[in-house]
């Protein structure tokens, strides 16, 4: 019998997330013979449009339709999934803010192996899956062996697998709601209240053509002045990676990344930024990326078009001076 793989579909406003098609590719790499089922949870017409959308790509779609999931929270969803998922199945979940919330507990409740943040799969041998992960923000990679013969929950890094748009599924949508909610709705101890939208800052970096973006390599708040000076010389705006916001040196609205803003500048200067995938995930479109970092193996050099291996504290003032000379 073909191995059963389930792909959890994240969606918003009635549209499936980009990761939906990436999970098909991931499932195919995990086991080319697997039968892949999309699992979609939500409420009403928005849920239906997501189901119809993914049914054209997946062989089968399971849906859980209840007002309790009008806003999907992992504390409500997790017990429902445990009720419908078969023992020993393989469950793929995107490794994002939702997957990180849902998946560790799901693996315990399914008594399945948990493998997180996989970026590639290299085959199954004797029930053991060989997967690739990254550690230390991508400075090193590891091969991880997991015994998946009795089931597994695997989170997959968004963007690691190229979306599989080729397959045309049969559009078979199966309503699993009754089975899922039999025994009552859980999650009473954790009550969703509301979404608080991110504050809008003084500069909207999503509209900038030139971004001069600074990371941990700046070392000290006082050194930020040189970043502002370079941005001014280039005619761009200053943005940053997470550690700069955590240190409260710049406001959250200037943060590029999956938990910050998604930006599409023409030119993106990554200065002293290591290039964690959460940061790179905030760069969309066809930006020309210039990375300057003193660590030649910083992962940012993987995504940059042009790299310079140097300490930004030495390099930036010289660059700014030369640009200013040029402009007279």
């Amino acid at each position: 019998m073909a191995r059963q793989v389930f792909a959890y579909i994240i969606h918003k406003d009635g549209v499936a997330d980009d990761t939906a098609l990436e999970l098909i590719a991931a499932a195919g790499k995990l086991d080319p013979d697997a039968s892949v089922t999309a699992v979609v949870a939500g409420d009403g017409s928005e849920l239906d449009s997501v189901c119809n959308e993914v049914a054209s790509s997946f062989a089968e779609v399971w849906k859980i339709d209840t007002p309790a999931l009008a806003y999907v929270t992992s504390e409500v969803l997790r017990p429902l999934l445990v009720r419908i998922l078969p023992k020993h199945g393989i469950v793929l979940v995107p490794h994002d803010h939702f997957g990180m919330d849902l998946a560790p507990g799901l693996s315990i409740k399914l008594d399945a192996v948990y493998l997180t943040d996989a970026v590639d799969f290299e085959g199954i041998d004797n029930g053991k899956l060989k997967a690739v992960r990254e550690e230390y923000t991508g400075q090193v990679s590891t091969h991880v062996l997991s015994d998946i013969s009795e089931g597994a929950v695997i989170t997959v890094r968004p963007g690691s697998f190229k979306a599989d748009e080729s397959k045309s599924g049969e559009g078979n949508i199966i309503d699993k709601t009754a089975e899922a909610i039999e025994g009552g709705l859980p999650g009473g101890a954790c009550r969703f209240l509301e979404i608080v939208e991110a504050e809008v800052g003084d500069v909207d970096i999503t509209k900038s053509d030139i971004l001069v973006s600074v990371g941990r390599g700046i070392e000290d708040e006082d050194n930020l002045e040189m970043i502002h000076e370079l941005a001014e010389a280039m005619g761009g705006d200053v943005s940053c990676s997470r550690p700069i916001v955590d240190a409260k040196w710049l406001e959250k609205s200037r943060q590029v990344g999956t938990s910050g803003r998604t930006v599409t500048p023409k030119v993106y200067m990554a200065l002293g930024i290591s290039g964690a995938f959460q940061h790179v995930g905030g760069l969309k479109g066809s930006s020309f990326v210039i990375a300057i970092n003193k660590n030649p193996r910083a992962p940012i050099f993987k995504v940059a078009d042009v790299g310079i291996v140097d300490d930004i504290l030495d390099f930036i003032p010289e660059l700014t001076e030369r640009i200013n000379e040029l402009k007279g």
Partner: protein, 263 residues
């Protein structure tokens, strides 16, 4: 409010470039600088702030050897009231599930209202908090960047989600929360502060103390295993500009002009 914070000793990535060792079995650990996992440090700071507002005590716990004790002591110097080290040969080589099982046993020995972990670690998988909550059958929220005490039965919690937005929840105690960086500004720990706690005893709890059968954790109980370490391929990667700083700047300025990077 009785709060337990789980912390881990990790190589400090802001102090080290991480490289693979010669035979690819591990990272190169000679000369590494270690520290407390950054996320965990925010969790300890948050626990101390909650205690200072509503009373109670903060206990810091770590699974590891005597070197992990230094990390626990550092967090006590920050202001945690108690430290506990969970240490046993049987714990070595535990995967995330094994670590969660060991921590669960310690949680069960106490009378905690709130258990905090870091949301992730640089050498980890963002898994222990969520697993621990599921093992305890307690509610869980990850990537927490806001905590407000409502009353002694519940708290209000914010989770960081995409785009800098925040999900707000009301959660009944006891619960497990994994803490995101940036939730607060962790206090500085002075040498003097560390000296003050240098002689405090940190009890060590073993597998036997915790009632854990040795085969269920450690390498024997691990269902995931790291085979090797390697340097990721750079793929196409960046074109690295070389030469003197002046030459590099010449090339860079030409590129910036061509790509619209100078207005």
């Amino acid at each position: 409010m009785e709060i337990l914070v789980c912390v881990k000793r990790v190589p400090d990535t802001s102090e080290n470039e991480i490289e693979v060792n010669r035979d690819g079995t591990d990272i190169e650990r000679d000369d590494l600088v270690y520290s407390v996992n950054e996320w965990d440090n925010y969790a300890v700071e948050e626990a101390i702030r909650i205690r200072d507002r509503v009373g109670g005590s903060v206990t810091v716990v770590s699974v590891g050897d005597e070197e992990a004790e230094e990390v626990v002591r550092r967090e006590m110097a920050m202001g945690a009231d108690k430290g506990i080290l969970l240490s046993d040969d049987a714990f070595e080589g535990s995967d995330g599930r094994g670590i969660a099982a060991i921590l669960k046993a310690e949680v069960k020995r106490g009378n905690y209202d709130l258990v905090l972990t870091g949301a992730q670690a640089d050498d980890g998988a963002a898994q222990v908090g969520g697993m621990l909550a599921a093992m305890l059958d307690w509610p869980f929220a990850s990537l927490v960047n806001f905590i407000e005490f409502v009353d002694d039965k519940k708290i209000k919690v914010g989770r960081e989600i995409a785009g800098g937005n925040q999900e707000m929840y009301e959660i009944d105690l006891p619960c497990v929360l994994s803490i995101q960086t940036g939730i607060n500004e962790p206090r500085y720990v002075s040498i003097r502060g560390i000296r003050k706690v240098a002689s405090l005893e940190i009890p060590v709890h073993t597998a036997r103390d915790l009632g854990i059968s040795p085969g269920s954790v450690g390498e024997a109980g691990a269902k995931t295993k790291c085979l090797d370490y390697f340097v990721p391929e750079l793929g196409d990667g960046a074109q690295i500009l070389e030469g003197s700083t002046d030459e590099i700047i010449d090339k860079l300025i030409e590129l910036l002009k061509a790509k619209g990077g100078i207005k």
